[in-house]
Amino acid sequence: MAIQVINDKCRGCKLCVKACPFDAIDMVGKLAVINEKCTACAQCIAACPFDAIEQTTSDEGPVDLSAYKDVWVYTEQRAGKLMNVALELLGEGSKLANEIGDRKVCALLIGHETDHLIPELYAYGADVVYQIDDPLLKNYTTDGYAKVMTDAIREFKPEIVLFGATHIGRDLAPRVAARLDTGLTADCTRLDVNTGNYINYLNKYTTLDTSGMDPNSDDKNLKQTRPAFGGNIMATIICPKKRPQMSTVRPGVMSKLEKDPSRTGELIKVNHSLSKSDIRTEVVEVVKAAKELVSLTDAEIICSGGRGLGDPSGFELIKKLADTVGGVVGSSRAAVDAGWIDHSHQVGQTGTTVKPKIYFACGISGAIQHLAGMQTSDLIIAINKDPDAPIFEVADYGIVGDLYKVVPKIIEEWNRVKEEHNK
C-alpha cells in the first residue's frame, strides 16, 4: 500500500500538506509530492477536495494463510499471579475467535510451577491452555521466553497472538515478531475482525467517511486500532500478508468475561528445548517498590491534580477528595515533572490510560497527552481557574474557579448527600 498523487487532478491547494501529520508532502511548483516520511496513514486522502490522492495496493497475491488457526493470548504471570490484562485479553480473544468463526481462544502460559493458574484461565474463557513449564522460566527473561514462545508459535501456528502492553509484553512481543518475520502493532485499544462491527465503531466515534466500506465484507484480517502521534490521531493497522497477526493491547481497555468456575478446557503441555546457555541475562533480583500502590486502571473513581495545585501540598486536598468519594489519586504529567507526586500516579499518554466511572480533573489544563489517557472516562468533572482550558472541551461538568475553594465545597456536599441517604 502506498499513497500516490494523481498529478492531473492536483490543483496545488496545499490542504494535504496541512493535513499531513508526518510532514510527508512537499510542494514542487503547484504539485503535491509525497516524500519518504510518508507512513500511508491516508490523512491526506480525506483532506483532498479534488480526489487527487489515492492509496494503491500492491498486486502481490496473498500467501497461503489458511495454515494458521486460533487466537492465542500470552497470559502473563509474575511470581505465580496472573496479570489482570491476561484475563481481559482472554475476553477479547473469545470475541475475535467468534468473529472469525470455528476458532478457539488459547492461553499460552509460560513459567515454572504454574498449574494453579490453569483453572482460572479456563474460568475466564480459555478453551485450550498451552503450558510451557521449566525452572529456567521461573523469572521472565527476554531470551528464555522469546525462544520457547517462538518455537511454540512455529509448531502450533496461531492466527492471532495477543500480549498485554506491559513492560514485559512490550519487551517480549517485538522480539518474537522479529524472529518470526511478522508484523506487530503496539498498544492497541480496539481490535476487530468483523468489518461490520468496525464500521459501526467508526460511525459512532469518528468522523471518517465509511460509505465506501462493505459491512458484509468477508475480510477476516485483524483490524488493530491504536492511538498514534501522541494520541492526536487513531490509526487502524493490518498485517495482511504475514501470520500470525500480533498485537500488544493496553491494560484496562478490554473486558474480561464473567468468571465461570465450572468451565473447563484442554491442557496441552508443550515440549521445549531451552537450555541455560540460551539465556544471556541474569536476573539478580525482582524488587517490588515499597511505595503505595495505586491501581489507576482498576479504579472506578479517580481524582487527579495538576499544575493548578500550585505546590505539592495540594495533593493533600486531592487525597481528601479521593477518600470522600472512594477514589484513588491521579495526576497530570506537569505535577509529576514538578516532583510533586510519583510517576505511578500519572494519567495520560506516557502514564496510565484510565477509564473510570468518574474522573475529577482539578487544576489540570488538559494537554492533549493527558486527554488521550482519560477522555473515554464515563463522566468527567473539571475544575479550573481558566475558562478556556482545553479540559473543559472533554468535561461533562465544568466549574470555573479556584480549586482550593471549589473542592472543599464538593467534599462538603458529597458528605451531605451521603448522610441524607444513610438517614
Partner: protein, 265 residues
C-alpha cells in the same frame, strides 16, 4: 577502557505542540518543531556519561529519516557525540518497525566494531517501543528495555529495568542492546564549542546501496504492517458549565446533577 558505543536516535515532531482544529477536526501541524526524541536523549546522555568517565569512548549516533534529520545528528554531536550517520533513502520511506530494524541492523553491521548499543525506549510520534528490541533480534544480541539505572564494570553491565510496580536488577555482558527511559538521567545541553564543531563536522549519509540492503526487507511495500485507515476521534459533545454565583451553589448543583444521573445515591 575504550568503549565503542552506538546510539540510535530519531527526529520526531514535538507532539506536545500539536493541536486539533476544533472545526475541521484535523491536526494543526504548522509551526510544530522537530526535536530529538526524549528517550533517545536519555540514551545519548548515558553514553556521554560513560565518555565523561572514560574519555577514549567513541560514540556514533545513527538515525534514519529524511535529509533534514541531519540536524538531529548535529545536535547530538554538539552534545558530545563523536560521529553521526544518517540512513536516508527513498527506498527506506514508510518502513514499519520490522523494516526499520532491518535498516538499522544493517548500519550497525556496516559500522562493525562496537561494544554497546543504546536506544530510547520509544519515540513520541509512534510510541511503539519495538525498534530497539527488533534491532537486537536482527543482530542476535541480548537486550534490556526500560533501563532506569546503569553501571558498567569491564565487560559486565548491571542495570535496573523498570517494572510497573518495581524493578528487576539484571546483569548482562557486552555487546548488548539497552533502551533508556527518562528516569535514567537528565540529558545535558549542547555546548557552544560543541555546536561550533558539530556544524562543520562531516556527516555520513548511507542509502540502501551503501547498506547493501535487500529491497524486499525495507520500505513501505516490504513492511508486514500497513495503515488500513486513520482518523481523528469525533469530539465529544460540549458538557455543562456550572456558572452559579457562588462556589456553594455550584457544588450543590453538581451533586444534584450527579444524583439525577444516579451516579451517587
Amino acid at each position: 577502557m575504550a568503549l565503542k558505543i552506538i546510539v540510535c536516535a530519531k527526529q520526531v515532531p514535538d507532539t506536545n505542540e500539536v493541536k486539533i482544529d476544533p472545526v475541521k477536526n484535523t491536526l494543526i501541524r504548522e509551526g510544530v518543531p522537530s526535536i530529538l526524541n526524549h528517550d533517545d536523549a536519555n540514551a545519548l546522555e548515558e553514553a556521554l556519561k560513560i565518555k565523561d568517565q572514560y574519555p577514549d569512548t567513541h560514540i556514533t549516533v545513527v538515525t534514519m529519516g529524511p535529509p533534514q534529520a541531519k540536524d538531529l545528528l548535529i545536535e547530538c554531536m554538539a552534545m558530545g557525540a563523536d560521529e553521526g550517520i544518517l540512513l536516508s533513502d527513498r527506498a527506506l520511506g514508510g518502513s514499519d518497525t520490522w523494516a526499520t530494524s532491518n535498516a538499522i541492523a544493517a548500519a550497525v553491521n556496516k559500522i562493525g566494531d562496537y561494544d554497546l548499543i543504546f536506544a530510547g525506549r520509544q519515540a513520541i510520534d509512534g510510541d511503539t517501543a519495538q525498534v530497539g528490541p527488533q534491532v537486537a533480534e536482527k543482530l542476535g544480541l541480548p537486550q534490556v528495555t526500560y533501563v532506569k539505572e546503569f553501571s558498567i564494570n569491564g565487560k559486565e553491565v548491571t542495570v535496573k529495568r523498570a517494572l510497573e510496580d518495581g524493578y528487576e536488577l539484571i546483569k548482562i555482558q557486552l555487546p548488548c542492546v539497552l533502551t533508556a527511559i527518562k528516569e535514567l538521567n537528565t540529558p545535558r545541553y549542547m555546548s557552544i564549542g560543541g555546536i561550533y564543531d558539530a556544524v562543520k563536522a562531516d556527516i555520513k549519509v548511507w542509502g540502501a546501496k551503501e547498506l547493501e540492503l535487500d529491497l524486499n526487507t525495507v520500505g513501505l511495500e516490504a513492511s508486514p504492517t500497513n495503515v488500513f485507515r486513520s482518523f481523528t476521534p469525533a469530539p465529544k459533545g460540549k458538557g455543562i458549565m456550572l456558572d452559579k454565583d457562588t462556589v456553594e451553589e455550584n457544588a450543590h448543583a453538581l451533586l444534584e446533577m450527579l444524583q439525577e444521573k444516579y451516579i451517587i445515591a
